[in-house]
Symmetry: C2
Subunit: 202 residues, 2 copies
DNA sequence: TGCAAAAATGACACTGTGTCATAATTATAT
DNA sequence: ATATAATTATGACACAGTGTCATTTTTGCA
């Protein structure tokens, strides 16, 4: 989290810093982002940056979480409105993230974020750390398992992970597609295969 | 690719450079890997490094591809031996990569590689660029589609991508698991869900 | 108005980068 | 064996960017 100092800044100055940061994060992958460029573009002293943020990671996490802050709410809402359907829940996450990230001409920024997201949590830039605040297992009781082909709580976990893997990849891929419609169509089709199986049913 | 100069080096010197590089790549994620550390550990001059490799990326790609060079052969072999079953093909890829990467005490190295692999191709450290040399569509005619629930060539592509996403993630996750057995068990279960569907079949 | 707390500043010491002129070694021709 | 050309090795060098911190400037408030 940014420091109090940053939070108390006049809104215009704060916006300018964030705008410069987004510009830089849109330019190159995370590891190549230069704080020098950000402070020059935002016209603040180098030292000031470190009075506002503890690190590059701190800054990026703040920007992203500040923008995509409702995921938990979206998950809960979707499950309640769709009688616990985990497929619709995943589509809700997908739609929400896509909508948020393509609004306000932020495509370049989020394209970079998603493309550079790690496959697996190591340092960070892992989708889970960046977006999902807590353990999603708290929503397990909202899921309707009667339609699912599971024998244990373990199985449910495996299914959730499987769906999450596919949704995450689909979001990341979305930004590289020419046609946004076919990106979504392909994702929906993948979910259909997950639902009914790739094999022909007898 | 490394330069001719590197290739013509005495085997011992080459091995020493590669060993030092692996040590460094095992220590930190790609972006933090320092060529300074590598040349010091390998006891070569800084300038020599740049006479051998054009970049850090060049070096890493060489090491990995040099070690995991048979993926294409594995895919072809598996499809031919298992009458075109794409699920068994994915398991073959999984097994081959895991076996290669856990042999020779290279776990730390490959753990770092997979954990820092990108979700999507941007710069690189994308699994596709690193491992798969060519378009896999050349194996399409080896796949038995009679068992699959598809209506078009497009559908087959979607299925392949879906499976590949899941397999890639499973490989990456493998290195973070305590129990290697349960890592594989979970992957196999995910494939079962992909095969027969998450929904109960009537 | 004065003074303490908060915020801003940029020079500084560091770390690491890739290059390149020069030196050392090796290969080839006579 | 020797001269010469080609290849390879070397580390100093100029750069770019980092995070810190002593100092200056601004702000809030008694």
């Amino acid at each position: 989290m940014p420091t109090d100092t940053f939070m108390k800044l006049p809104i215009d100055k704060r916006k300018k810093v964030i705008a410069s940061a987004k510009k830089e994060f849109s330019r190159v992958p995370f590891s190549e982002v230069s704080i020098k460029n950000i402070v020059e573009d935002a016209e603040i002293a180098r030292g000031s940056f470190y009075q506002y943020f503890t690190s590059k990671k701190d800054l990026l996490t703040y920007i992203v979480k500040n923008h995509i802050y409702e995921i938990d709410t979206i998950i809960e809402k979707s499950l309640k409105e769709n009688s616990g359907d985990i497929f619709l829940m995943n589509i809700s996450i997908y739609d929400y993230v896509i909508q948020k990230c393509t609004d306000y001409n932020e495509q370049d920024f989020y394209k970079k974020i998603f493309q550079n997201m790690k496959l697996c949590e190591d340092n960070f830039l892992d989708i889970k750390e960046l977006f999902i605040s807590n353990d999603i297992s708290k929503y397990f009781n909202l899921i309707d398992i009667s339609k699912l082909n599971i024998n244990s709580r373990e199985d449910l976990n495996i299914i959730i992970n499987l769906l999450f893997t596919v949704t995450t990849k689909a979001i990341a891929t979305y930004f590289t597609y020419q046609s946004k419609e076919s990106a979504k169509a392909e994702y929906i089709k993948q979910l259909e295969y997950l639902k009914n199986g790739i094999y022909k049913q007898k």
